[in-house]
């Protein structure tokens, strides 16, 4: 019977094109508004590294002010001091560990005709590439021996590689940055985790860095941090040594741990480390170490702004208003067909058959509303792009993938079916005898 009801539904839609178009428009508008925000929320709150997110942990130690938490109510700072980062890295208690901070370098192209230009950079350790499963177009990352041996090695983003070497494989070739010559070990393929989970302290939705080079080199070369730096007490003396020995937090440590046992062991290690530091007169606050996996860390950092959640609530309310309109239109349409319903009842249709017929018709309207709603969503996303296009990350938030397209259709159909419940129930209650004379 489903095909029969679908055929009747299509006939009914053709019979009342204006009313049907209004219903489709009401659903499409609601779905468009809702899905625009849902899509942004979906992209912002998605898992940027789903196959490894439960193995990667962000490390926090509470080295902060004894009289005031780094963040209320009792959050430890979101980054580490150099002293702690280096100590934990050198202890090597996790399977892999990445210590990094954001900085900038100036590249001097081989061609003298080209002017030097600045690139965003990440000072990091060898495990970065394997831990975060970065895709390589050419070559690979560097080794731990390069970290230890302070080798001048570099991994380039695809865009920078193309800028410097066009389509050639640059592995083994040199790049001069701030007067030092680095050997290219690899070129990343297109890679843009969203959110940029490994550094949400600086820019959750920013583009990945253009150049990656060893942490050991950046410390030796006294390369300043371009990221957030927070201090709870003065560094005392000025200069690089004073800064790296201070209680300022400015770098992130990620570790790779497999299973509960490794996690518990690493926590115990962190506790022991903090105890030893307390004994040395540091860490005046009570023990407050944190190990968050990727998604926990995104949640903790509230990567998805509260504003988006509020907008999402408003969008759902707007969808409800559109559905109320749809209920009214559907009710008008069904009541106009009272005679048809009465006749079908006289010819043997049960209430259930009438219910099914009109629910299927509502489903068809929902599908049409969903398809039109995808168009409205695209319009909405383009509108956001027009309004906020100056922010680079917006480009990545306004993509509509297949999951969202399917979600729009499913949401539209469910909405239409929900809106159809009352009118259809009324249709089932139509008394056949009262309609047949009026036909």
């Amino acid at each position: 019977m489903f095909r029969y009801y679908a055929k009747l539904g299509l006939l009914s839609i053709r019979r009342n094109p204006v009313l049907s178009a209004l219903m489709v428009a009401a659903i499409a508008t609601g779905i468009g508004a809702c899905m625009t925000i849902v899509n942004i929320d979906y992209v912002m709150s998605g898992n940027p590294i789903p196959h490894r997110s439960e193995l990667l942990y962000h490390v926090q130690l509470d080295s902060w002010d004894p009289y005031e938490a780094a963040e209320e109510p009792n959050e430890p700072p979101d980054q580490l001091t150099y002293i702690d980062g280096k100590a934990l890295l050198e202890a090597g208690k996790a399977r892999r560990q990445v210590l990094s901070y954001r900085t900038g370098r100036v590249i001097q192209p081989e061609d003298d005709a080209q002017l030097p230009f600045q690139v965003s950079s990440l000072s990091t350790t060898a495990d970065f590439f394997q831990m975060f499963d970065t895709p390589f177009l050419y070559g690979s990352g560097w080794d731990k021996s390069d970290d230890d041996g302070m080798a001048y090695v570099v991994v380039l983003s695809r865009a920078i590689s193309e800028q410097l070497f066009a389509d050639e494989d640059p592995v083994g070739r040199n790049v001069v940055m701030n007067g030092d010559t680095y050997r290219v070990t690899g070129v990343l393929d297109t890679w843009q985790p969203t959110p940029k989970f490994y550094d949400v302290s600086n820019d959750s939705f920013g583009e990945i860095e253009e150049v990656f080079f060893p942490f050991s080199i950046s410390i030796a070369k006294e390369v300043d941090s371009y990221g957030n730096t927070n201090c709870w007490k003065p560094t005392g003396e000025t200069g690089w040594q004073a800064f790296i020995n201070s209680e300022c937090v400015w770098m992130q440590l990620w570790v790779e741990l497999h299973g509960d046992e490794e996690r518990e062991e690493y926590k115990a290690f962190l506790n022991a480390y903090v105890e030893s530091q307390k004994a040395a007169g540091r860490f005046p606050r009570p023990m407050n170490n944190r190990l968050y996996d990727v998604m926990q860390w995104m949640q903790n950092r509230e990567v998805v702004e509260d504003d988006v959640q509020v907008l999402l609530g408003l969008a759902v309310l707007f969808l409800l208003v559109c559905l109320l309109n749809t209920i009214g239109l559907l009710l008008a349409k069904i009541m106009r067909r009272s005679g048809d319903i009465g006749l079908r009842r006289a010819l043997g249709a049960s209430r259930r058959a009438i219910f099914s017929q009109y629910i299927v018709e509502a489903g068809l309207i929902g599908i049409a509303g969903g398809i039109a709603g995808i168009g409205m969503t695209m319009l909405g996303l383009q509108g956001i792009k027009l309004l906020y296009g100056e922010f680079e990350f917006v480009e990545r938030l306004v993509r509509l993938d297949w999951v969202m397209i399917a979600t729009a259709i499913v949401l539209a159909v469910i909405s239409a079916l929900g809106a159809a419940l009352y009118p259809t129930w009324r249709a089932c209650g139509i008394h056949p005898a009262s309609q047949l004379k009026s036909l």
Partner: protein, 232 residues
């Protein structure tokens, strides 16, 4: 095969009670052709609606084909209506966006017949009413008489035991009315029981039995032209 005993139907509003049928008793035998006449408001249509299971009654007993219909569920009443009763209405009541074939198909769909069986039945009844060549015409492309013939075909496609006709010629000119009446007589001769509500005395007389209703009751129950002619 259709029996009503002391059936009453009372319409109630907040302030008024209207007795549409008052202890109405009536029975129909297999193969009957009964005309029901009476002034407006005498309860003819209410009787037809109750007989056709389109309306529930307030009191009494109604047995259709030996089955007491008093406490049947909506689904049971719908199935019984679909299997045993065919309706013919004054205004034809065809669905305008469906062609002749699909209009006749409507009750068969609810019966759950397979496509081949439905097609066979539809083609048979459309040929019987002489509209085989117009199976894919819309109702608006047919004359009033042809539309009523399609309605009769629709009523007959499910091979019902009863045909309930409410003023079947009321919207037709005399020539078309005669043609429809002849078709109904032919159907009755083939064995289908017909109950026809009409205002027209000439048509009423052509039934085997004529029921005159007055004030929700049977005023008189007389043989029609057929029986009167036979007894003379």
């Amino acid at each position: 095969m259709l029996s009503m005993k002391n059936v009453s139907k009372i319409y109630r509003t907040e302030s008024i009670e209207t007795h549409a049928l008052r202890e109405f008793s009536f029975s129909v035998n297999e193969g009957d052709f009964i005309s029901v006449t009476g002034p407006s408001g005498s309860g003819k249509t209410t009787f037809l609606n109750i007989a056709g299971l389109l309306e529930e009654f307030s009191n009494g007993v109604y047995e259709l084909d030996g089955q007491n219909v008093t406490n049947l569920s909506d689904a049971q009443r719908s199935r019984l209506r679909n299997e045993k009763i065919g309706f013919i209405f004054q205004s034809f009541n065809l669905i305008p966006e469906l062609d002749v074939f699909d209009n006749v198909d409507v009750p068969l769909r609810y019966r759950g017949f397979k496509a081949a069986e439905r097609r066979k039945r539809i083609e048979r009844v459309i040929d019987m009413i002489g509209l085989g060549s117009r199976a894919h015409h819309l109702p608006s492309q047919l004359s009033g008489g042809q539309q009523q013939r399609v309605a009769i075909a629709r009523a007959l496609a499910g091979e019902p035991r009863f045909l309930l006709a409410d003023e079947p010629t009321g919207n037709l000119d005399s020539q078309m009315a005669e043609s429809v009446m002849q078709l109904l007589e032919e159907i009755n001769r083939a064995g289908t029981t017909i109950i026809m509500v009409t205002h027209e005395k000439n048509l009423a007389k052509r039934a085997r039995r004529n029921i005159f209703m007055h004030d929700g009751r049977v005023g008189s129950n007389e043989p029609g032209l057929h029986l009167a002619a036979a007894s003379a």
